[in-house]
């Protein structure tokens, strides 16, 4: 397929603006751009068709099954898009006077109310633009808390080795030393390992529960108690909230602050990698440390991005929350857990389960034995799924399971989709023993064959260049 620049024809254009009805003004020569940017020259039909062609090479969750563990790829309700496009939301300037933005304030306050209730928190901000950004905000709450108390020796943040890479990266960005603790054989926090690292230098713990192998850590109250006893605070990574919303609240588990991924749990679209939005909630004693906008709210607070955050994404999340409501929220969580257990039991008997026990909203397959016996890796299985029209699950995460494939169907998949998916996994398991070669070379019927990622990294070509002459 051609790049858009390769479709450019000199002189093609779109007539978007009227002729200027005031006198033009020239920049002084010293400030003028020397050569025009080499943007493509196209008519509207060229643009429309190019992006249609690209769009055909994109697979969205509203188009098909997307069992990515840890990503919560649930159906994105169409009505939420309509709500975010309402001119009354889309056309509002962030710096308009207070009386003109009461609707926006109500959206943020209502969303905060819903999310505080479901997490057991008292304060909430929507300024962070993504999960990692929310983690950064949450850990900064912890940092400010200790700094204000003058407790400067607390330099360490504890992170289990099963954690998402953003957790330790965030702790480092906040100036903390990361202390990794190994997980117990059941994938949960090893209490002895935790006790061994707790001390006067503990600023806090970052944890997700259920954990990244989809298991609820039943020692959670003991874990948060131990951290509090040592003088640290507990941060909840809300990536897995879909398993427990309306059933268990992070605040009741002993967490002091939480982040929630609106683009996961609350069905806002992923957009090919963003924009997400993140709500960060906290207990009352941390509220004073929440971020604000210098221009909108005045000085005196940390700030993680301009203005109030990804407001139009919050609109989508609120639309979803209002739709689900009191009974729909736990219903979503319960069915996410049921669907995951159902899919797991239907696949069981073929690929090995990393943990043969009731899971939460996601489960992990361990393909190390399979690879040893057939030579077919988790990557090969993932690439083979593409030939069946299924987006592969998460590969090689968490790091504590080898040859891992993590599946999270979510509650918006039907039983027949789960049966279809299970049948494909079982078929691929058989294929591994009978025709591994096909799987090493997969996918065979996709947009492209396997890309040469090594070459991409060794000879980085990161933009199109106009050919010479």
């Amino acid at each position: 397929m051609k790049l858009i620049f390769e479709k450019s024809v000199k002189g093609r254009h779109c007539d978007l603006l009227p002729k200027c009805d005031v006198d033009l003004v020239e920049l002084p020569e010293s400030l003028r751009r020397e050569t025009a940017p080499a943007l493509p020259e196209l008519s509207e039909v060229d643009v429309a068709r190019h992006y249609t062609e690209l769009n055909h090479r994109v697979h969205g969750v509203n188009c098909g099954f997307y069992p990515l563990g840890s990503c919560t790829m649930k159906y994105n309700p169409r009505i939420d898009e309509d709500m975010a496009s309402l001119p009354g939301f889309a056309g509002v300037h962030p710096l308009a006077p207070a009386y003109a933005v009461e609707g926006c304030r109500e959206v943020l306050d209502t969303a905060a109310r819903y999310l505080c209730e479901l997490t057991g928190m008292q304060g909430m901000t929507f300024q962070p633009a993504a999960g990692a950004h929310g983690e950064f905000t949450g850990v900064l709450l912890i940092k400010q808390y200790h700094d204000k108390r003058g407790d400067v020796k607390r330099r360490k943040i504890i992170v289990p080795d099963s954690a998402h890479g953003t957790n330790p990266a965030t702790a480092a960005m906040c100036g903390f030393e990361v202390v990794n603790i190994p997980s117990a054989p059941n994938g949960c926090v090893d209490l002895e390992a935790l006790k061994a690292v707790l001390g006067e230098d503990t600023a806090g713990l970052m944890l997700t529960n259920p954990n990244t192998v989809g298991i609820f850590d039943e020692n959670i109250l003991e874990i948060t108690r131990l951290v509090h006893e040592a003088g640290g605070l507990c941060y909840y990574d809300g990536a897995n909230l879909n398993a427990i919303m309306g059933v268990v609240r992070p605040g009741d588990m002993g967490f002091d602050c939480v982040h929630m991924n609106l683009h996961k749990t609350f069905a806002t679209p992923h957009g090919g990698g963003g924009p997400g939005a993140c709500a960060v909630g906290c207990k009352e004693f941390l509220r004073e440390f929440l971020p604000a906008s210098a221009l909108m709210d005045g000085p005196g607070h940390i700030q993680v991005r301009s203005f109030a955050g990804n407001f139009l994404v919050v609109v989508r999340a609120l639309s979803y929350l209002l739709s689900l409501g009191r009974e729909g929220i736990p219903e979503a969580a319960q069915n996410a857990v049921l669907n995951a257990n159902y899919l797991m039991r239907r696949i069981q008997g073929s690929f090995d389960l990393a943990f043969d026990r009731v899971c939460m909203h996601e489960f992990v397959l361990d393909l190390s034995r399979f690879k040893k016996e057939t030579g077919v890796s988790a990557l090969d299985v993932a690439k083979s799924l593409i030939d069946y029209g299924m987006h592969p699950p998460t590969m090689y995460f968490p790091l504590i399971v080898h040859e891992a494939l993590m599946l999270e169907p979510t509650e918006t998949e039907s039983k027949e989709t789960l049966d279809w998916a299970a049948d494909i996994f079982r078929a691929l398991y058989e294929l591994g023993y009978t025709d591994p070669e096909t799987m090493h070379e997969a996918p065979h019927h996709a947009q492209i064959g396997r890309p040469d990622e090594v070459r991409a990294a060794r000879n980085p070509v990161l933009r199109w260049q106009k050919p010479e002459g």
Binding site: C14, L17, R33, A38, F136, G165, V304, L462
Partner: protein
């Protein structure tokens, strides 16, 4: 309204299949004390019709202004229809991050095209796939410029207050110092900068045009920064780059900025778009996702997420940034915008922004008491003194015009290609009327 497709009968069937009596049995690992033993204290779920009515009621509580003469980091530009409709396509909208290249060439190629366009706008060699907004882009740029010896960040006082506060927060995180270079006559005080460029300074950030709309002497500032052995970061307005000297030509090492003007609605502040571009020399220090070109197993051109060894999922606590998501759909929006307007259209939009703003300024300053505060060259924003400011702004608002932003010195006005001469004349007439009365 629930989006769970399974019927009660199907749920029973599945519960049986997994050997669970009921839903409660699935949560058997959860300690009793931690289980929520009551319904959530929230309203019942709403049907689609009810919910849309409720949300529309909230939207109706906002007051929209047909004419927006306020900028300050959020700009009311004309958004062409295709720029709205293309990112709304269900595939683009609901796709995940393109980790599986064989299923995501559409997303990957559109980002590769976006990266190319950002390089063209800024004159730089490499762009990433976007970060959250212009303020975080500035903070990430400051971080990428630091090394073992040079840890201090300088930022111009004439930058957007939210940018300064965000950079300050990121510096607080890593325990690095931020020093603010004072302003003089609405621009960075170049002599003050000279004095502040000491050996421990890693970078200096200037916004072009700056928060007050003034055009900085970007080349001269850059030369000073390099003389001192530090790196030069410029925060740019992407529309202005249709006609303004590129950050590359001004000597910038890193070019960042707020991409919202490229087709994103005001949206009460977000989602917006942070762009980041740099020279080949600093390519591996860029945070965030980057798409690269390669070939597939059949020798065909293909696109992949590349240089992932920089990122958090590989390097964890050694990653230079924790950033994971980007603003992909906003980057797509920006690319569609740039493809639709083309080089001539972008230059035309920029020229008209500049023309309208200068016209508005000229007419406003003809009114007694209204004076230009900063008199240097400007792009599309300017500050005037404004007597009886609140009264004037209220009168404008009553007429459906959002006037300039109240600032310490008076009012920060903005005009774009979107306002007609008639709209500008009307605004001026109202100001004149109030001040005459």
């Amino acid at each position: 309204m629930s989006y769970v497709p399974s019927t009660p009968a199907e749920r029973q069937e599945m519960l049986r299949a997994v050997g669970a009596e009921d839903f409660k049995a699935l949560y058997r690992d959860v300690p009793q004390e931690v289980l929520l033993d009551r319904p959530l204290n929230l309203p019942e779920g709403m049907s689609e019709l009810e919910m849309s009515r409720r949300m529309s009621e909230m939207a109706a509580k906002n007051r929209l202004f047909p004419t927006v003469l306020r900028g300050a980091g959020a700009y009311d530009h004309y958004i062409p229809a295709v720029v709205r409709s293309i990112p709304a396509k269900e595939e683009f909208l609901t796709a995940y991050t393109p980790y599986q290249a064989e299923m995501s060439q559409g997303v990957l190629q559109s980002i590769f095209e976006y990266q190319t366009m950002i390089c063209e706008l800024t004159g730089m060699d490499v762009s990433n796939a976007s970060v959250y907004d212009g303020a975080t882009a500035a903070a990430e740029a400051a971080a990428m410029c630091r090394d073992r010896r040079r840890r201090v960040t300088l930022i111009s006082a004439a930058a957007h207050p939210d940018t300064i506060n965000t950079v300050r927060t990121y510096c607080y995180g890593t325990g690095d110092e931020l020093r603010i270079v004072p302003m003089k006559d609405g621009k960075t005080d170049i002599e003050a900068l000279r004095a502040m460029l000491t050996p421990e300074v890693a970078s200096f950030y200037v916004q072009q045009p700056n928060f007050h709309g003034q055009l900085e002497d970007a080349e001269a500032l850059g030369a000073l920064v390099h003389e001192a052995g530090a790196l030069y970061v410029m925060g740019c307005n992407p529309i202005s780059l249709g006609i303004l000297k590129t950050p590359r030509d001004c000597g910038a090492d890193v070019a960042v900025g707020e991409g919202q003007p490229l087709g994103m609605p005001l949206g009460f502040g977000g989602p917006y778009l942070g762009f980041m571009a740099t020279t080949t020399k600093y390519m591996r220090k860029l945070p965030g996702r980057i798409v690269g070109e390669t070939v597939d197993s059949r020798g065909e051109r293909a696109y992949v997420l590349s240089l992932q060894a920089r990122e958090q999922h590989i390097r964890r606590e050694k990653a230079s940034s924790n950033i994971c998501s980007n603003e992909a759909l906003c980057a797509l929006t920006a690319a569609v915008y740039l493809a639709t307007v083309g080089p001539d259209g972008l230059a035309e939009a920029a020229r008209q922004c500049m023309a309208k703003a200068h016209y508005l300024c000229q007419k406003l300053c003809e009114i007694e008491g209204v004076e230009l505060v900063y008199t240097g060259e400007y792009f599309h924003e300017f500050v005037t003194a404004l007597p009886r400011r609140d009264e004037v702004l209220k009168a404008l608002e009553d007429a459906g015009i959002l006037g300039g932003l109240p600032v310490e010195e008076g009012v920060l006005w903005c005009a774009t290609e979107k306002q007609s001469r008639a709209e500008l004349d009307r605004a001026v007439a109202i100001v004149k009327e109030v001040l005459a009365g």
